[in-house]
């Protein structure tokens, strides 16, 4: 009775208030309370509708919600079945964003030709963000894991509220004046559109554009683009992602090094087959015995890494390790001592090594050397 009365009286209403108690259920449905100074109402936002929203709902956000009042009989409470939400104030900010975006785009601040390449192996990385925010912790943690042989240099700034844009812009200029960084990350973690606003201001855009040092932007959520993202030399969806973009992965690098050592030894081995005279000297030389030592050395690095790294990279390390084991076996098999054992043979005529089929004529005598001895032969007439 009450249910019918309420649901027919309020089939569609607009309510304005602040989001609190936000819960995003794994089912995709979103539940929250909408409140103002003197009242509150539970809201339910079903998955099919919630998924169409272009911004991220957050606690504390001011919104206008459209929906119908429904009653949940088992508990006897009523709720707003939300159809549509609009952030309050979005209109003005959105308009300012679009206007500035068009202006800077027309001036060429976003053009691809003006973007600077980000170095592959930086030694010192500048960071412009809040010294208390999650962004800084995320960046430090990712870089510690992937490539700790770098220095990080932070200029702490406020990343929201009035004056933040000026601080960010001046930090970018200071970083350039200081000069001794290879690349810089500028950004903050996620927040409401208002929170992210400093990164949509012209003064920040111009500072990024004027920077000689390549700038990687890392602002907020994956789905939102800021003006800073458009101007930056590289745009990362989150601070953690920015950290992954600016440093290589040392496990992959070690793997590459092991591969290179293998290739080097194999190429040398190949040549040795053809240069039998050089074999004895090389076998005895210090340098020939290096690759095995080097593989052992790199393996030790892997061991150290395995001990020091967290569980999430362990899997990748195991893969590298098994590759390294098979490489070592292959490396050992290409040693000159083993080449003959692998089925190669050396053909000699007199004192010289026969390098080509053209060198042997019918009737020639030749000796074939195997790993376990020599066989004298004679070339048959054609």
């Amino acid at each position: 009775m009450l249910k019918r009365s309420l649901e027919t009286s309020y089939p569609s209403i607009w309510l304005q208030g602040e989001v609190s108690n936000l819960k995003k259920h794994t089912s995709g449905h979103t539940y929250f309370t909408l409140k103002d100074e003197d009242a509150q109402i539970s809201c339910v936002f079903w998955r099919s509708r919630a998924s169409t929203v272009k911004f991220t709902l957050e606690d504390g956000m001011k919104i206008q919600a459209q929906g119908a009042i429904t009653v949940y009989p088992p508990r006897g409470n009523y709720q707003l079945d939300v159809v549509k939400v609009v952030p309050v104030g979005i209109g003005e900010l959105q308009a300012a964003f679009e206007k500035l975006k068009m202006k800077l785009s027309a001036e060429g601040l976003f053009s691809a030709e003006r973007k600077k390449p980000v170095p592959e192996f930086p030694q010192r990385i500048g960071i412009v963000t809040s010294e208390t925010g999650a962004a800084l912790r995320d960046i430090v943690s990712v870089i510690s894991r992937r490539y700790p042989s770098v220095d990080l240099l932070l200029i702490p700034v406020r990343v929201q509220g009035s004056g933040a844009a000026q601080e960010i812009a001046s930090a970018i200029r200071d970083m350039n004046q200081f000069g001794e960084v290879d690349v810089m990350i500028v950004g903050r973690g996620g927040g409401s559109l208002e929170d992210l606003w400093p990164f949509n201001e012209e003064v920040v855009a111009r500072a990024i554009f004027d920077s000689r040092i390549p700038v990687v932007s890392a602002v907020g959520h994956e789905i939102d683009f800021s003006i800073a993202d458009f101007v930056a030399d590289l745009r990362a969806p989150t601070p953690s992602a920015a950290a992954e973009l600016v440093v290589p992965n040392r496990i992959e690098l070690l793997e590459t090094l092991v591969n290179i050592c293998y290739t080097l030894s194999q190429k040398l081995g190949d040549q040795i087959v053809w240069g039998q005279n050089a074999v004895k000297g090389i076998l005895a030389s210090y340098s020939f015995n290096q690759p095995r030592q080097l593989v052992a050395f790199l393996a030790q690095r892997l061991d150290e890494l395995e001990r020091s790294l967290s569980v999430e990279v362990e899997h990748s390390l195991k893969l590298t390790r098994s590759k390294y084991h098979s490489l070592r076996q292959r490396l050992e098999s290409v040693g000159p001592g083993n080449i003959l054992r692998r089925g190669y043979a050396i053909v000699r005529k007199g004192e010289g090594v026969v390098m080509s089929s053209q060198e042997l004529q019918p009737g020639d005598r030749a000796d074939i050397r195997f790993h376990d001895g020599e066989v004298p032969t004679r070339v048959e007439p054609k």
Partner: protein, 77 residues
């Protein structure tokens, strides 16, 4: 080029290594040069491996005084 000369740049070391591997893979290098390239490659790879060993990220803070002088200090949380 010795490993000492490229000490400043990991990038240059990796580039040179790739370069060496390419030359050797082309198959047109005589044996004595192969040996030299091989030794250089091994030395570079070892140097790179050592560089990757470094213990911990160093986080510092950059500040600028009113006179415009820069100061780098340890970061304390």
């Amino acid at each position: 080029m010795s490993a000492k000369k490229i000490e400043k740049s990991f990038e240059a070391a990796v580039k040179r290594l790739e370069n060496i591997v390419e030359s050797l893979e082309s198959g047109s290098v005589p044996l004595d040069q192969t040996l030299a390239l091989y030794e250089e490659g091994i030395e570079l790879a070892k140097w790179c491996g050592e560089k990757l060993q470094s213990a911990e990220v160093k986080l510092k803070k950059l500040s600028k005084s009113v006179e415009g002088k820069f100061e780098v200090t340890d970061f304390e949380e």
